[in-house]
């Protein structure tokens, strides 16, 4: 009897229990994860799945006759994103720090590949590599991560080693050079939205690294001069100029360029407090707003879920950013702080630009709403970023 009990016990508490116990232990990775951040991000992706479904269920020309086509894919993208996040946590940002040069080189190559015949133009931006089978890759999304990681690596190296209090000018120049290469390529695509995000990332990374104020001021000045030059030198395509013109005065051409922004505003405005109900948005079902499953997904929330639903998305984004700010503040290493700050700037600016354009307070630029918009590359990139944030949190020295 006792023997059998022993056998039973032995079987019951061997390996599985060991792993589970380890995971659930007081100082385990699972326990130390920022669950609020994770749940907020998951909630955003879940809302995104519903909104994407609502925007595409009737669009037979896009969903190939399957109303759930985009719903399934968005959920799959979220799943893959989660796996990538777990992988990132598992590897740890410190481990990744060593691989940064390789990752950087890889992403720059991918970005460059877009300029070769491999690249495709979607919605005026030559920013895609079509893989086939309905999949396509937007390398600039991953370039955002490698710019953050690469710059952080350079800027934090000597500080974290205890050599210096703040990064020196040479390091800053190197870091800027590192960022400049992919940014220049993305500008050539031209994927202006991504360039803007990257510029904000660079600024935030420099800020958080403790680089000299002169660099910060100089960089902002350079950005302004650059913008003026870009405008004057005709680097921009007509459609980009039109988008800005329509932003400045949406009534300018309500049937043309201003149409999209106007329809987007009508969609959101007509939602009222509680919205028209999921799947009941007339603007959405009527496809009056373009790119509604991707760049203009927020209009679906605004119309069908109203102020409460759309506000929830902003609140959830606020939760993600709040947790990210805490992670940036709480980590002991500058590397972690800088990476987190870069991610914060990325998420915050991209969300502001994306929602702002649907609300008519920002010019139209082709940027997805993090977690919510349909799109594999963007989804993967933001979840890798979540993985990085979690990794920074769990890998901080436990016993201090």
């Amino acid at each position: 009897m006792s023997a059998s009990t022993h056998t039973y016990t032995a079987r019951r508490f061997t390996p599985e229990r060991g792993t589970w116990g380890k995971l659930m232990a007081r100082d385990s990775i699972v326990r130390r994860l920022d669950w609020i951040l994770l749940l907020a991000a998951l909630a955003l992706s879940a809302i995104g799945t519903v909104l994407v479904y609502s925007a595409t269920r009737n669009r037979t020309e896009l969903n190939q006759g399957d109303p759930y086509y985009f719903l399934i894919r968005h959920a799959m993208n979220t799943g893959i994103g989660l796996v990538l996040a777990v992988g990132t946590i598992w590897l740890g940002h410190r481990t990744l720090r060593g691989a940064v040069p390789v990752l950087y080189a890889l992403s720059v190559l991918l970005v460059l590949a877009v300029l070769t015949p491999l690249g495709s133009t979607i919605n005026g931006a030559h920013a895609w590599i079509v893989i086939g089978g309905g999949f396509s890759l937007q390398p600039s999304e991953f370039a955002k991560i490698t710019i953050i990681l690469g710059m952080a690596m350079l800027l934090a190296a000597r500080v974290d080693a205890g050599d210096r209090v703040n990064p020196d000018h040479r390091t800053v120049v190197q870091a800027l050079g590192l960022a400049a290469l992919p940014i220049a390529v993305v500008l050539l695509m031209p994927d202006l939205g991504s360039v803007m995000v990257m510029a904000v990332i660079v600024l935030a990374v420099l800020l958080s690294s403790g680089a000299s104020n002169r660099w910060i001021v100089g960089l902002i000045g350079a950005a302004v001069v650059g913008a003026v030059l870009v405008w004057q030198l005709g680097v921009l395509d007509q459609y980009q100029i039109d988008r800005f013109a329509a932003f400045a005065n949406p009534a300018l051409d309500p049937a043309g360029v201003g149409y999209n922004t106007n329809q987007a505003r009508i969609a959101i405005g007509s939602g009222g407090l509680t919205g028209k109900g999921l799947f009941h948005g007339t603007q959405t079902t009527g496809q009056f707003v373009p790119e509604q499953q991707t760049d203009f997904v927020f209009t679906v929330a605004g119309e069908e879920l109203g102020f409460l639903g759309a506000g929830l998305i902003i609140v959830l984004l606020g939760v993600v950013l709040w947790r990210a700010c805490r992670i940036a503040r709480d980590t002991t290493e500058l590397y972690g702080t800088v990476v987190a700050a870069g991610i914060i700037a990325w998420f915050a600016f991209q969300a502001f630009e994306n929602i702002g354009m649907t609300l008519g307070i920002m010019p139209v630029a082709g940027l997805p709403l993090p977690f919510v918009s349909y799109g594999g590359s963007s989804m993967f990139a933001v979840w890798i970023a979540v993985g990085l944030l979690q990794s920074i949190r769990v890998q901080r020295p436990v016993s201090a």
């Binding site: 405005g269 007339t282 605004g302 102020f307 759309a310 002991t332 702002g356 609300l359």
Partner: protein
């Protein structure tokens, strides 16, 4: 989480992290604020805009009500034609915008592919006809003359003809039952114009782009009732116009049927008789001009004497109202409105006006009596009447010596009335009129309802004219410049008249009054006015508003709105005077000017009353008038440039009476042959499904040419 680690960061980094945090959250706050502004503050505005975005109407036209005769026989109804139409929204979904489908369709319909493609394009400033002028969400008709075989081909091969429908559709038809075309009475339809849509926007019955509206006759008069209410389905559509949902649907309400007092059989007889009378007149030689009579236009009204209801109304020249169905061709339109065809669209029974001639004498007799001359007094019927150097001849009769007013009516003695009118003119001050002249002859005419509309339920009735003092003044003011320019003291007749008019055209001259008393000169009346007056003489003195519409019956037959006879006054005479005039007019038919036309008439059974009129028109041949009545009906006929009253119009009117009462040439009455010995009082029978039963038309009455000549 319990122990927050010490960080090795510099204060600079910490400060900057705080700054980043502040910036991030102010951005989010901005978004939240803007979201509130759009959704809560201005939400209503955007809701309205969103609603406008999507709703498109599709109109299901209401079936137009029928116009029926008194016995339920349709004069205007709808026939079902196979209409092939294309749905533009469906076609636009196709890769080639439906070109292949339309080309295939053209093959089936034996049309040119280009014609079919042109029909479905939308009209704009640059697109010439044919093009579609209606809503792009409306099915666009390609043809309304598809054969059943073609329709079947289209419907059986639905997969080959997506977006194409072949549906039986109601199209207006003017049936001309028993050859009663009644074109001017019925009127016609044509597509609604932009202005009309705008005008009707806020009215009780707003118009739709696809509507046809009545343009004339009963179609116009009873347009609101006949048209019904089109059904509208509001579809929600997407930005490309594709239907994504149905917002609301309103079924079409078919228009009401209008039952008229017209009897198709009598109408047919009246039309044929009028036409025959005019043809016959054209064979007659006019001794005054030395030419055959032109008989260029004519009209006849058959009215129920006791109600003012119109049993038949014909106007000649006429046309086929079906020319308007499905859009009139440019050629047809030109023909109908051209001078060469003498304006067949005019309904001369209510729009033709001419001097009445002697049929006006019932007015003059009444005026004389009202002025104090006894009806049975003795008045000298001389062969001519002089005012200064002017000689007024007895036109239709010779001298009869002293006679009563009644006899003056019978023999149509002009000089009796000349004399009475002249005396009255003198009493009123002559060339220096009193401040308040009695003007008995003019006053009485107005009391008879002349010089204004009778109120018949047809559009554009004209008033005619009583040339009283006021009119003379107004007319002179309007024309004196032309007269004074053209007039010459010793020019030809026209110039002399103009000269005279220039000098004293504002004045009521003795000659004017004298001429007026026998219905000549500037006096103008319409046939419907005279029919109203003669009907009133028959019915005891009530001047009824003539009506053609008798009842409006809703499409389901449940609501019947009768149109009751209305009067616009009483004849200004005592019953005594009326019965004396009545007797005199019977005398006209038996021994007076119309007697030769009523030879053998069963006067004892159906007392006939008549008055002839032959009006002179300067520069034209005489106008023939014939006004008659029995106790049931009044019939007035006129033929422009047709000759004398009894000569040109007499036989036709007699034949109409023959048909009504079943009287044969010998004066025997055969009630079986009588079309309508008593006016149709009852409305036709309405079946439970709302349809109205039509009674059989019977054999059409043959009309033959008459060879009789004037005495």
């Amino acid at each position: 989480m319990s122990n927050i680690p010490e960080t090795g960061r510099t204060p600079r980094v910490t400060t900057r992290l705080v700054a980043i945090q502040i910036i991030v959250f102010s951005l989010l706050l901005t978004l939240g604020g803007r979201l509130w502004y759009l959704q809560i503050r201005n939400g209503d505005e955007y809701t309205a805009e969103a609603a406008n975005n999507h709703v498109q109407q599709v109109v299901h036209p209401a079936v137009r009500g029928s116009i029926l005769d008194a016995r339920g026989v349709p004069l205007a109804d709808n026939e079902t034609r196979l209409v092939v139409s294309a749905s533009r929204t469906e076609l636009m979904k196709m890769k080639d915008n439906g070109k292949a489908v339309l080309t295939r369709l053209a093959g089936v319909l034996n049309m040119k592919p280009k014609d079919v493609l042109d029909k479905v394009r939308l009209c704009d400033a640059k697109t010439p006809q044919p093009c579609w002028n209606g809503s792009p969400y409306q099915p666009i008709p390609i043809t309304d003359e598809a054969s059943p075989k073609q329709a079947l081909q289209i419907r059986e091969r639905e997969e080959d003809f997506p977006g194409i429908s072949a549906e039986p559709t109601a199209v207006r038809r003017y049936a001309s039952p028993g050859d009663a075309n009644a074109a001017q009475v019925l009127g016609y339809l044509s597509p609604v114009t932009d202005e009309e849509i705008k005008k009707a926007e806020d009215s009780r019955s707003p118009l739709l782009r696809s509507d046809q509206v009545g343009r004339n006759g009963l179609e116009r008069q009873y347009d609101d009732e006949l048209r019904g209410k089109a059904g509208v389905t509001r579809y929600e559509v997407d930005n490309l116009g594709r239907v994504i949902g149905q917002a609301e649907s309103q079924r079409a309400q078919p228009g009401a049927n209008v039952v008229t007092s017209i009897d198709a059989r009598v109408q047919a007889v009246a039309e044929k008789e009028l036409d025959q009378a005019m043809k016959d007149a054209r064979k007659e030689m006019d001794r005054n001009t030395g030419r055959r009579y032109e008989a260029d236009a004519g009209a006849v009204v058959v009215m129920e004497a006791k109600t003012g209801r119109v049993v038949a109304m014909a106007s000649n020249p006429t046309y086929d109202p079906n020319a308007w169905v499905g859009g009139i061709s440019g050629k047809d339109y030109k023909k109908l409105t051209g001078k060469k065809s003498n304006y067949p669209l005019l309904n001369r029974a209510i729009q033709g006006q001419a001097a009445p001639g002697s049929i006006f004498k019932v007015v003059s007799s009444t005026a004389a009596v009202n002025a104090g001359y006894p009806f049975d007094g003795s008045y000298n019927c001389s062969s001519s009447f002089n005012i200064g150097s002017q000689v007024f001849k007895n036109f239709e009769s010779k001298g009869y010596g002293p006679i009563s007013l009644g006899r003056a009516l019978e023999v149509s003695c002009d000089t009796v009335f000349y004399d009475l009118a002249y005396k009255q003119w003198q009493k009123d001050g002559g060339n220096k009129p009193k401040k308040h002249p009695a003007d008995w002859f003019y006053k009485t005419a107005h009391q008879f309802g002349l010089g204004k509309e009778t109120g018949v339920d047809l559009p554009n009735e004209v008033t005619g004219r009583i040339p009283d003092r006021q009119w003379k003044k107004d007319y002179w003011k309007a024309n004196k410049n032309a007269w004074c320019k053209y007039g010459k003291k010793d020019g030809d007749y026209g110039r002399r008249i103009a000269y005279e008019n220039c000098l004293e055209g504002m004045k009521m001259r003795a000659g004017d009054s004298v001429n007026y008393s026998i219905g000549q000169g500037d006096t103008l009346v319409t046939p419907i006015q005279m029919a109203t007056i003669y009907a009133a003489l028959s019915n005891g003195g009530t001047l009824y508003d003539p009506t053609i519409g008798k009842a409006i019956i809703s499409a389901d037959g449940k609501k019947v709105q009768e149109i009751k006879p209305k009067s616009h006054g009483k004849l200004p005479m005592t019953q005594q005077t009326r019965s004396k005039i009545d007797k005199a007019l019977a005398g006209v038919a038996t021994r007076g000017t119309a007697a030769w036309r009523f030879g053998g008439w069963p006067q004892d059974k159906i007392p006939m009353h008549a008055k002839t009129g032959t009006a002179e028109v300067y520069g034209k041949q005489t106008t023939s008038w014939f006004a008659t009545y029995t106790k049931d009906y009044a019939i007035v006929m006129t033929i422009s440039q047709g000759g004398t009253g009894s000569g040109a119009s007499g036989p036709a009117v007699r034949n109409i009476y023959n048909a009504l009462y079943g009287v044969d040439a010998k004066g025997n009455i055969d009630n079986k042959k009588a079309l309508l010995p008593k006016p149709q009082a009852k409305l036709p029978k309405i079946d439970s499904d709302g349809s109205i039963e039509a009674q059989p038309l019977g054999k059409p009455i043959q009309v033959v040419g008459r060879r009789e000549t004037q005495q």
